[in-house]
């Protein structure tokens, strides 16, 4: 199929960017979206032009590096996937596809479609851990039984890949799904409950400091999340913070 691409080009964080049109031809429907971008970039490199910069790494939907806003949706029109798992069979011959970086004041553009998501790391630094040293003689892994239900719920929260689709898609650029997922994972496990109160306070404070917006419960994040992280995690975070503050 032949496609027209409208892509955000921006030289660096201090430059102004704009949308630029490109054409690609003979795209196979079995290609992944990023392989289609590879075709475009190969075309540009051979012409001596700068290829479109975009973040990508594992290309199997788990590293969370890829981050495109395609036709007005984070990771494009399909559900439960990242951009690298989006396949061209979702599009039709002759389509015009708009490709933009994930947008949020807390995610400044580095170049073209590459954004800086280090705000997520800093939130994790604030409390996204359990304070246990590596010793080799922590108690036996089976010493504290954990109900299957709690373990499964913690796992569901822990599957977050930190891609930032929740922020990008949120009309308020809120990071609460991301933070809620981490807070929940630990709050559900006995090992994490010891410092749960401090954790939620510190992580929420850092989240606010980074300039993310406020959640208005539109639920868009849950829909666009490639890992289907549930809004229940935001409710749990709210609950945890209330509990920690009273």
């Amino acid at each position: 199929m032949n496609l027209t691409l409208k892509i955000w080009r921006q030289k660096d964080s201090s430059s102004k960017g704009q949308m630029v049109d490109y054409k690609v031809t003979e795209i196979s429907e079995h290609m992944s979206f990023l392989e289609m971008m590879d075709v475009l970039n190969e075309q540009l490199v051979v012409k001596g032009e700068e290829p479109v910069a975009f973040d990508h790494d594992c290309r199997e939907g788990i590293c969370g590096m890829c981050s495109m806003y395609i036709n007005g949706e984070a990771h494009g029109p399909d559900r439960g996937i990242t951009t690298c798992q989006l396949h061209m069979r979702m599009f039709n011959d002759g389509d015009t596809i708009t490709i933009e970086p994930f947008r949020a004041a807390a995610f400044p553009v580095i170049k073209d479609l590459v954004v800086d998501r280090s705000a997520f790391d800093r939130i994790q630094h604030a409390g996204g851990y359990i304070s246990v040293n590596t010793s080799g003689n922590t108690q036996d892994a089976n010493a504290i039984p954990i109900s299957k239900h709690a373990a499964d719920e913690a796992m569901d929260a822990a599957t977050c890949i930190g891609c930032g689709a929740c922020v990008a898609t949120c009309k308020n650029s809120s990071a609460m799904l991301f933070v809620g997922a981490k807070v929940s994972q630990y709050a559900l496990l006995p090992q994490g409950q010891v410092e749960a109160a401090d954790r939620v306070k510190n992580m929420v404070a850092q989240m606010d400091l980074e300039g993310f917006g406020n959640c208005t419960n539109t639920g868009a994040c849950e829909v666009e999340c490639p890992k289907g992280i549930s809004l229940d995690n935001i409710a749990r975070m709210n609950r945890e913070l209330l509990k920690a503050s009273i």
Partner: protein
């Protein structure tokens, strides 16, 4: 606890608390008004009680005013923060793919409701204050009978006003359609995401505005009692 309400999560909780209060108030308000459909006397009695009871006037009313003002002011503050958090806007954004119109436009439905409240205050509340506290007439009487029902009917004589009320109530319904369940979520409860509560929310957000609309339209169509 002071720090809590400065946090984004705390502000959500504050929004939700004020919302619950306002939603409760709407039920009371509708319950009083609905009596006007079948008994002018009962409506007058209740109105007079609400308008003159010191507890209602000097305790509940200020709380209500505070709740309304807080909900609006905080709503605007949060909206401004959110706009700032957005940064550059998308050239193409397909919001309807992942969220409801109501949830994305709370600020606009909220603004219409604000405009309505101004109109509503000019229509009813300011004249009330004038009669009761400036002119000092606490009797609630006019020409020998309670004035409340009569005033109500008179107000709905003007089709433009009725139209404005109807539009405002529709937007109130849309605001509630998202707000009702959203408030639970903000309070940290997943109840709002469960089916029963969603159905209750739907019923609430339809019935309350519909009740007010019926009252306005009924009195417009039946001007002579």
């Amino acid at each position: 606890m002071a720090g809590f309400f400065k946090s984004s999560v705390g502000r959500k909780v504050a929004m939700a608390l004020s919302a619950f209060f306002l939603m409760f108030f709407l039920i009371i308000h509708l319950a009083v008004n609905i009596t006007s459909l079948f008994s002018a006397d009962l409506f007058n009695e209740l109105s007079h009680f609400m308008g003159t009871n010191p507890l209602v006037q000097f305790a509940l009313q200020p709380v209500l005013i505070f709740g309304v003002v807080f909900h609006f002011v905080m709503g605007f503050i949060l909206e401004l923060q959110n706009k700032k958090a957005n940064g550059v806007s998308y050239a193409r954004n397909n919001g309807s793919a992942n969220s409801s119109w109501m949830s994305r436009n709370m600020i606009y439905s909220g603004l219409v409701i604000l405009a309505f409240i101004v109109l509503h205050f000019i229509d009813f509340w300011f004249p009330e204050l004038n009669v009761k506290y400036i002119q000092g007439d606490m009797s609630g009487m006019h020409n020998g009978e309670y004035r409340y029902f009569h005033e109500l009917v008179e107000k709905f004589h003007n089709p433009l006003r009725v139209g404005a009320y109807v539009i405002s109530f529709v937007l109130l319904g849309l605001h509630l359609a998202h707000g009702f369940t959203s408030a639970f979520q903000s309070m940290g409860s997943t109840a709002g995401r469960q089916k029963t509560m969603q159905q209750i929310g739907k019923a609430y957000s339809i019935l309350i505005p519909l009740g007010f609309i019926i009252i306005a339209v009924y009195h417009h169509l039946n001007p002579h009692h």
